[in-house]
Every structure is written in structure tokens, then in C-alpha cells.
């Protein structure tokens, strides 16, 4: 029977919703036992949140001073030490999980399935390839441990109401000193988080400047949306890198995605395939974004946006 260990992502205070989605994914495998491991300096608060997730049996706390920042080189050997008791180890398909899990897999001499979007059996999974232009069914060797990252846009967050046992684990694992955290720069705002927001307003190259992106911020604030961007907009410096949506940015699944002045390159569309409703505003009626849009409006965004903001207020 599958015994799945999920590596929880957190910032020391809050469990990242991506972890809740990993739990949902793991529980689609019938009979699977699900545990969450938390590495940090003091994971008490996060462990309490993890223990309340429906369907989790056990929460493992690995607290030590070196775990202050999630360096893959330090986390991986600790996870390897934990993994002995498990058949599967999952992490989220976030920058945290993508960086960490392959290092774990290699140390375990185990294969990894990236961006798992559905579980068809304990060793049979589906995942996107070619920027989501094909879906491949992968079978993994049942004689080995299976490491996976979970494509979080494919799963709902697990509900609360659980009461898992919390266990503090001390591991005798030597950690390398060759990798050191220096700093992090984040443009954290009061707006909803791009990865979990139910509405997202995204801008492309057509915005023309960081100043013009204010048109989007102002509209987004009015409807309670997060703000995203195409790669072209990020490359041009109109928006910050963490706002990029797409193959190499964030893969999101909001209720509504509004693409403004974005052409709809396949690398961008990969990031929004799971959006419930896609709205596109573009002055070019032939723009590929209209092929996937549920609602399209052809026109100049600089005329449309102020009017849109005015009318939604009514």
C-alpha cells in the first residue's frame, strides 16, 4: 500500500496552499496513507495547520537552526533520511519543490515524475509535456521509490477538520556548508496571491510601461484580483518576475483570467489552461489568445480599461 510523504512548503508562519493541493492529489490514490514533513527552525505553528488538514495521518517536524531557509542542498539529505519508511515522496510544483525534489530523487537513486496532474495508479501518472501541448501517461518502476512534484493547478486544496498526530523528529544528518542563503527580494503586496487568487488580471507587452500597469492594478483592486504578466512584460521591466504566468512562470487556475494586451503564445497559454473563464482584450482580432478565450473583446486596451473599471463599479 502506498505510504506517501509530502514535503510541506511554508514560510515559518503559514503552510503554503500548494501543500494542501499535494494532499488532495495524494489522496486520489485509494488507500494511501499521507504524512507531511515540515523542515524549519520552529515549525510548531505550521505543524498545527498541517495537522488540521483533512486526510493527513502524521505531521513530522524537523526543526534545526540550519533549516531557516529552504536550501535544497541542506533539505535533501534530511528528506532522504525520512524517506526510508515511505513508498512515495511528493512536493509541490512550486519553485521550492522543483528545486528540491530532484535532488532528493537523485540521492535516493529514484526516478521523479514532474508536474503530476493525475494519479491513475500507484505507479501510473499523467503529466503535461511540450508546454502542455501533449499529455503523457508515465509508468514508474514499482521496485523503486517514486518522487513527484504535484502540478498544483490540477488539484483543489484539501479541506480542514483533520487531526493528525504531530511528531518531532531529530535526524543525525550532516549538512553541507557549500551553499549559503544571502537574501530574498520580494514585491509582496496586499493584493491576492497570484497562485491562489480566484481572479487574475494579466498584462502583456502592449501595456508599454510600468506606469501603464497601474491601469491593471487599479482595475484588479476594484474586483479583488491578483495581477499577472506575460514574459514580454516582465522582460521589458513593466512587471516583476514573480508576476510571470506561463511555462516558465506560474501555472495558475483561477475562476477568471483576464488577459490584456497579451497575444497568447503557447508558452503563456500553458499557464492558464486550467482557468475556468478566460477573458481576452486585444486590439488584434487574429491574436491567438482569442482561440482559447471564453469571452473576447477586440479593441484598444487604453480605451477599454478605464471604461471597464468605471462600469464594473456600477
Amino acid at each position: 500500500m502506498a505510504n506517501i510523504l509530502i514535503i510541506g512548503e511554508h514560510d515559518g508562519k503559514t503552510l503554503n496552499p500548494a501543500t494542501l493541493k499535494c494532499v488532495t492529489c495524494a489522496r486520489t490514490l485509494a488507500g494511501a496513507k499521507v504524512s507531511i514533513a515540515l523542515l524549519g527552525t520552529d515549525t510548531a505553528a505550521v505543524a498545527a495547520q498541517a495537522a488540521a488538514v483533512q486526510g493527513v495521518e502524521k505531521v513530522l517536524r524537523i526543526d534545526r537552526p540550519e533549516n531557516q531557509h529552504p536550501l535544497a542542498a541542506s533539505f535533501a539529505p534530511q528528506i532522504v533520511a525520512l524517506a526510508a519508511a515511505y513508498s512515495h515522496v511528493f512536493g509541490p510544483s512550486t519553485s521550492f519543490g522543483k528545486d528540491l525534489m530532484p535532488r532528493v530523487a537523485a540521492l535516493l537513486d529514484a526516478p521523479q515524475v514532474s508536474d503530476l496532474m493525475s494519479i491513475d495508479g500507484a505507479y501510473r501518472f499523467r503529466r503535461p509535456i511540450y508546454a502542455g501541448n501533449a499529455i503523457v501517461t508515465v509508468e514508474a518502476d514499482p521496485a523503486r521509490k517514486l518522487i513527484a512534484t504535484v502540478r498544483v493547478a490540477s488539484f483543489e486544496a484539501a479541506a480542514g477538520g483533520g487531526s493528525a498526530a504531530i511528531e518531532s523528529v531529530s535526524l543525525e544528518v550532516a549538512l553541507p556548508s557549500h551553499t549559503r542563503y544571502v537574501s530574498v527580494r520580494s514585491g509582496a503586496t496586499d493584493r491576492p496571491d497570484l497562485q491562489t487568487a480566484s481572479k487574475v488580471v494579466s498584462g502583456g507587452r502592449a501595456l508599454g510601461s510600468a506606469e501603464n500597469f497601474k491601469l491593471l492594478y487599479s482595475f484588479a483592486d476594484k474586483i479583488g484580483a491578483a495581477v499577472g504578466a506575460s514574459r514580454a512584460a516582465v522582460d521589458a521591466g513593466y512587471a516583476r518576475n514573480e508576476m510571470q504566468v506561463g511555462q516558465t512562470g506560474k501555472i495558475i487556475s483561477p475562476e477568471m483570467y483576464i488577459a490584456i494586451g497579451i497575444s497568447g503564445a503557447i508558452q503563456h497559454l500553458t499557464g492558464i489552461k486550467d482557468a475556468r473563464t478566460i477573458v481576452a482584450i486585444n486590439k488584434d482580432a487574429e491574436a491567438p489568445i482569442f482561440e482559447v478565450a471564453d469571452v473576447g473583446l477586440v479593441g484598444d486596451l487604453f480605451q477599454i480599461m478605464p471604461e471597464l473599471e468605471r462600469l464594473v463599479g456600477n
Binding site: 544571502v182 520580494s186 489552461k273 482559447v292 471597464l308
Partner: protein
Amino acid sequence: MKKIMVCIKRVVDYNVRVRVKPDGSGVMLDGVKMSINPFDEIALEEALRIKERGTNAEVVVVSIGIADTQQQLRTALAMGADRAILVQTDQPVEPLSAARTFLALVNKENPDLVFLGKQAIDDDANQTGQMLAALWGRPQATYASKLELAEGKATVTREVDVGLETIEVDLPAVITVDLRLNEPRYVKLPDIMKAKKKPLDITTFEALGVNLVQGLKNVKTEPPPQRQKGIMVKDVAELVGVLKQKGLI
């Protein structure tokens, strides 16, 4: 900085709209334009810039793939790499096998830095660099968008979900690169001619003593679900009406 190794992969060009074969055995590759994985091109560009900044490091470009992968290695040589190694195979190679192969090459070449793209745009796995770093027992700095080198170490700015993270790693190290690290140069005709004379060695897994892993098998490839064709609205008022009706605003 004496030597930099860059791992590149031959992939379907990013402009090609990939189609799934009707029998579900994979995607159509016949007559499709193939290129260096765009992330790997950025990796190579970074190595070349380090070389040209006066370190004069030797840049060795390596790949695993079919015989035609020589085309991509020649392009890499034309960009400015000094020599190339192809580990030739017709078999599918999963990331752990690729990492083992690169480790064997690392052990032969002893580079100070290994660059890879953060992911290949065919299988989008995003694993090989991290796996190589693990097997080698060396640091990894993934998703690099800025890189500074000092004596025996590198300071790397990484694109992460919350923004930009900076870490410091001792060399040798594995660095996987993101799109904003640099803009690769174009190859010029004279460089293509010069590249023909640069060494390109062909080797095999057997010669390198690499055992392939058979951990994963692709059993079926399908097209993704198609979205239903949507509607076009004529003006902002109608758009707002539709969104209100759907309960979205």
C-alpha cells in the same frame, strides 16, 4: 576559472506547434525543426561571457542524443564553445540517466562550473541539473537570473515564486539558468565555418561506464483537452454584462 561545462539538449524548436501522433506513441518529429533548448542556449551564452570576460576558461559543450545532435553541438561551437562531446544514443534517456551521464563527463573533465538550462522544453521535467548536483555532491543554484563570480564562489540570484532569492555557492557548482539571465548571441557565417574545425568527440554510455536507469516509461501520449470556443462581445458594456451574468464580477 579554468573550465566550464555546458549541457545542451536537442529539442523541437519553441516556435513549432507540437502535434501528438494519432497512435498515441509520442509526438510528431518528422520534418520538424530542431534546435538547442532555449534555456541551454542561455546557459551557453553565460559560459561564453565568463570566458570572454578575461578568464579565458575553456568552454566544453556536451549533449546526449541521436547522431543528428551534432547539428546543435556545431551551432554551440559556432557560438563560441571550444569543443564538444556527444554521448550518442537512440534510446530515450530519463533525467536520472542524463544526470549520471553528465556526472561521468564531469569526473573526466573536472569543470569549475556546470551550466544547464533550468528545464528542457520537450519533457519540461526540470530535474537534470539538480540531479547532477546531488550525484556530484556539489551545490546547485537553480533558476539563475544573475550571476557574479568571485574567487572560488558564485553569487547567484534565483527567480523564485516570491521574487528574487540570492544564494552563495562554493565552486565547483551546478547552475541552471532562467530566461532573464542574458540574451544569447546570433551565430555569424564565419563562425559557422570556423566551428567545422573545432573538435567534436563522440562517445557512448558504455565507454563512459554509465548504467542507464529504467525508472520511467511513457506508455501513452494524448492531446490536451480542448477548450470550447468562446464568444466575442462588441463593447465594454456587453463584456461587463456577460461577466456579471456569470457571477464573476
